[in-house]
Every structure is written in structure tokens, then in C-alpha cells.
Amino acid sequence: MPDYFQSYAVVLAVAVAGAALVAVAFTAGRLIAPKRPLPSKLTTYECGIDPVGKGWAQSQVRYYIYGFLFVIFDVESVFLFPWARVFVKLGWAAVWEMGIFIGILAAGLLYAWKKDVLKWA
């Protein structure tokens, strides 16, 4: 399939063009931009006062739970895409089966909702 490889060759060419843009921009920046580092200039910004701590603060655990939920639903869409491509040929049976699959996942989402996981507090 020459077409198949050709289209990916084009994608590769776009990637090369993007890389070239980045390379040109960074080189130009290095050549033209001034570079006068001072200790006070190199501190991180905290509204003008001296920063406190290393800047790697602890954050809410809730973000982590959303990460979990995302993985579940993203994997679900991995199943959905191939199914969506072929389900017309399989007819009603395929729709029912996907309904059951989505139903189980939706039950999980409802459980998370009931447990107040989705509530930001």
C-alpha cells in the first residue's frame, strides 16, 4: 500500500517542519536575546516577595481521583471507537451489548457521584 506509507511520510515531514521551526526559534533566540542573569532575577515569582519553600507545594488528592476516573473512561472510548466503526453491520445486538457495557461504566460513575467524589470541596 504505497498510499498508506506516503500519508505517514507526509506526517513525518510535518513533524520535521515543526522541529525546524523550534530549532530556528531557539537558535535565533540564543543569538539575539540578551543574557544577563542576576540572582534576584532568577528567583521564582511570588508577587514580588521572596519565595517561600521549594515551590513544590502539596495539592489536593482530588486531582488524583479524577486521574483515575479519566483512565477508566478513556479506556472505554478505546473500546467505543472500533465498535462505532463496525456496529452497523452487526445490527441491534451490537447496540444492546454496548448499552450493557456503557451501563456498567455509568453505574460506576453514579457510584462515584453518590460517594461525593465529583464534588469539589
Partner: protein, 386 residues
């Protein structure tokens, strides 16, 4: 393939790449002008006629600015993050068909970089690495505000990515193709709204898939961190969010990446929902020009909607944003996928299918629109109680 083919291929890539950069420049100017107009200002006026070169001037200025890497920063990651934020946006654009084809040197050159047969999946795959750019930028800065901004936006972007994926699945089910060219072809011709003979309309996916279109528009705003979902860089709370510590070229990369991303998601909306380069009229001169013009007009229209939303809505509260994503968009997306499935496999009896599709679209739209106020009012009671 001989030499001429390769030359044409490289020329195509280079031309489209620069055209994309120019479109991005003009659209940034367009956005600033429209926002200025809505705030009764004149907006940029100095650089070029009516300020159209303002983006170029800003870009050149950024080249002459010192790039500062804070001592706290994780240097390699700090340098890679802006590249990661910009790079995938260009790659996603590679699959968008923006015209038919032009006949040069005895070859048919398509107005599309690559017709990959997994089009929609490619778009989704290239939409996700953007999150890495933002998370790594915030984390590697070694500063508090960028970290908070990046953690926020990562949760926001992954949540809305699920909704976006579900709306794209619905389009895929309705059209039956993954390739972008095939989806544009599927939208050719005319159909009759609600099966009524006197109500013809172009067979564009946004009519039967209107709920999916709305979901896609909302999710694309959240995915590109555009107002009113720009919580990653909420200046009233987080200075400038994930790019607080960035300056010079690296900041320019974030800025460029954000706008290339916006153009790409708008182009995807045009291709999947608004019939791509198809339009009602093609005059018989310069055959390749009219499809391109239609595509650009639709792109500007979608961008205009984005800008209107930016200019009229205040920034969302974070808890409302997240609860809207998980409690409205995702359950609705799941229901809509099943509804689309049912509508598509119902036996094709003349007239019936159109009525069914229309009824589903209207019901879905009513359901979705009636849940939109949640975005602005959710959690109000609790606020009063505390």
C-alpha cells in the same frame, strides 16, 4: 514515486505550514479586534494597516527578550515543555482536508496533507500530548503558582477530553468513517429537514448531530484553555498560571501553540460537523479556489463564535467547571452515543429515518440546553450556607 512527487510533497508541507502560521497570526489579530470592538475600544492600530501585523510585531519583540530559567527550575523539562505544547497541534492539523485538489505539473495535488485512514483517532491522539506540555511546564518551574495552574488544567483537560471523545464517537457512528476525507464526502448533497420535502438543507453533520456539536464546542474551549475555561492561567488567582516563569522564545512557543491548537480544533469542528470545504456554490472559474474559500469562511465563523464566547462570558468557577464536565457532559455523551446507535441501526424505511434522526436531535438539544445553566449556578446554595 519519482522526484517530482517528492518535491511536490515537500512543497505542500512547507506551504501549508506557513499558511497555518499566517492564519494563526491573522486570527490573533481578528480576536483582538473583535474583543476590542465589543469593549468599545479600537484595539491594535499601529503595526500595518489597521494593526493587522500586530502579532508579527509581538513575535519579533519576544525574540529580543531575555529567556529566564529560574534557579529552582528543572532545566531539561523546563525547556522541553513549551515544545510539547506546540508540536502536536501542527501534527493534528495534518489530517484536515481544506479543499479539493489542484492540477499542477500533470499531478493531482490534494488540499490536505495526509489522508490517514484513522483520521479522528489521530486528532484525538494529537490533542492529548498538549496536557503534558502544560503539566510539565508547571511542575518544572519550581514555583507555586505554575504548579497549581498546571495541576488544575491537567484535571480540566483530561475531564473534557472524555466528553470530546464521546462527541467524536457519535459523529463516527453517524458517518461510518474514520478518515476525514470520507467524512467530508459523506456530508455531500442535500437532505430534507424532518423529512419535509420543502425544507432542503446541506447534509452537514451538525444538524442530525447538533447535541454532539454543542458538546464538541464546549469541550474544545476547555481543551485549548480558552476563556471562559482558562483556569490554568487565571490571572486574578494564579498570576499567569503554568507559564508564569516563562519568558522570551519559550513563552512565544506557548502562545503560538495555544493559537495553533485553537485553529486546529476549529478546523476539526468545520470538517466533522459543518461539511468541511463543501459549500452551496462553486463558480466555474478557478476550481480549487472556492472550496478553500468556503473552508476559510467556516473556520472564521467558528473562531468568531469562540471569540464571542470569550468576550461575553466571565471565567467559570473551577468546581462548577468540573462538575459540569462529569455530571452533565459525560453522562449526556454516553446517552447520546447510544441514541445515535439506535437511530442508525433502525431499518431504513423511507422518511421514517429522517423523522427519527430529527426527533433525536431535538430531544438531545433540549436536554443539553436545559442543563447548561448548571455551569453558572451549580453549588450556589452551599456558598450561601457557609
Amino acid at each position: 514515486m519519482d522526484l517530482l512527487d517528492w518535491v511536490l510533497l515537500v512543497a505542500r508541507v512547507v506551504i501549508v505550514f506557513f499558511a497555518l502560521l499566517i492564519v494563526v497570526m491573522v486570527l490573533i489579530w481578528f480576536e483582538r479586534k473583535v474583543v476590542a470592538d465589543m469593549q468599545t475600544r479600537v484595539g491594535p492600530m499601529r503595526a500595518g494597516p489597521r494593526g493587522v501585523l500586530i502579532t508579527l510585531a509581538d513575535g519579533v519583540k519576544l525574540f529580543f527578550k531575555e529567556g529566564i530559567t529560574p534557579t529552582n527550575a528543572d532545566r531539561p523539562v523546563y525547556a522541553i515543555a513549551p515544545i510539547l505544547a506546540m508540536f502536536p497541534a501542527f501534527l493534528a492539523f495534518a489530517v484536515i482536508p481544506f479543499g479539493t485538489h489542484v492540477h499542477v505539473f500533470g499531478r493531482d495535488v490534494p488540499f490536505q496533507l495526509a489522508d490517514i485512514n484513522i483520521g479522528i483517532l489521530w486528532v484525538l491522539a494529537m490533542a492529548s500530548p498538549n496536557v503534558y506540555g502544560i503539566v510539565l511546564a508547571g511542575w518544572s518551574s519550581g514555583s507555586n503558582y505554575p504548579l497549581l495552574g498546571s495541576v488544575r488544567s491537567s484535571a480540566q483537560m483530561i475531564s473534557y477530553e472524555v466528553g470530546m471523545g464521546l462527541s467524536l464517537v457519535a459523529v463516527l457512528m453517524y458517518s461510518g468513517h474514520l478518515s476525514m476525507t470520507a467524512i467530508v464526502d459523506q456530508q455531500a448533497g442535500v437532505f430534507h429537514l424532518l423529512g419535509l420535502g420543502w425544507l432542503p438543507f446541506p447534509r452537514w453533520n451538525f444538524v442530525p448531530q447538533f447535541p454532539a456539536f454543542v458538546v464538541y464546542l464546549i469541550c474544545s474551549l476547555a481543551e485549548t484553555n480558552r476563556p471562559p475555561f482558562d483556569l490554568a492561567e487565571a490571572e486574578t488567582e494564579l498570576v499567569a498560571g503554568f507559564h508564569t516563569e516563562y519568558s522570551g522564545i519559550k513563552f512565544a512557543m506557548f502562545y503560538l501553540g495555544e493559537y495553533v491548537n485553537t485553529v486546529t480544533v476549529a478546523a476539526i469542528a468545520v470538517t466533522l460537523f459543518l461539511g468541511g470545504w463543501r459549500g452551496p456554490a462553486y463558480p466555474a472559474v478557478i476550481h480549487w479556489f472556492w472550496p478553500l474559500l468556503w473552508f476559510l469562511l467556516k473556520l472564521v465563523l467558528v473562531m468568531y463564535v469562540y471569540v464571542l464566547i470569550r468576550a461575553t462570558l466571565p471565567r467559570m468557577r473551577y468546581d462548577r467547571l468540573m462538575s459540569f464536565g462529569w455530571k452533565v457532559l459525560i453522562p449526556f455523551g454516553l446517552v447520546w452515543v447510544l441514541a445515535t446507535g439506535a437511530v442508525v441501526v433502525l431499518p431504513e424505511v423511507y422518511g421514517r429515518r429522517a423523522v427519527l434522526v430529527g426527533a433525536a436531535a431535538i430531544l438531545g438539544t433540549v436536554l443539553l440546553v436545559s442543563s447548561l445553566p448548571a455551569l453558572f449556578t451549580a453549588g450556589k446554595k452551599e456558598q450561601v450556607r457557609s
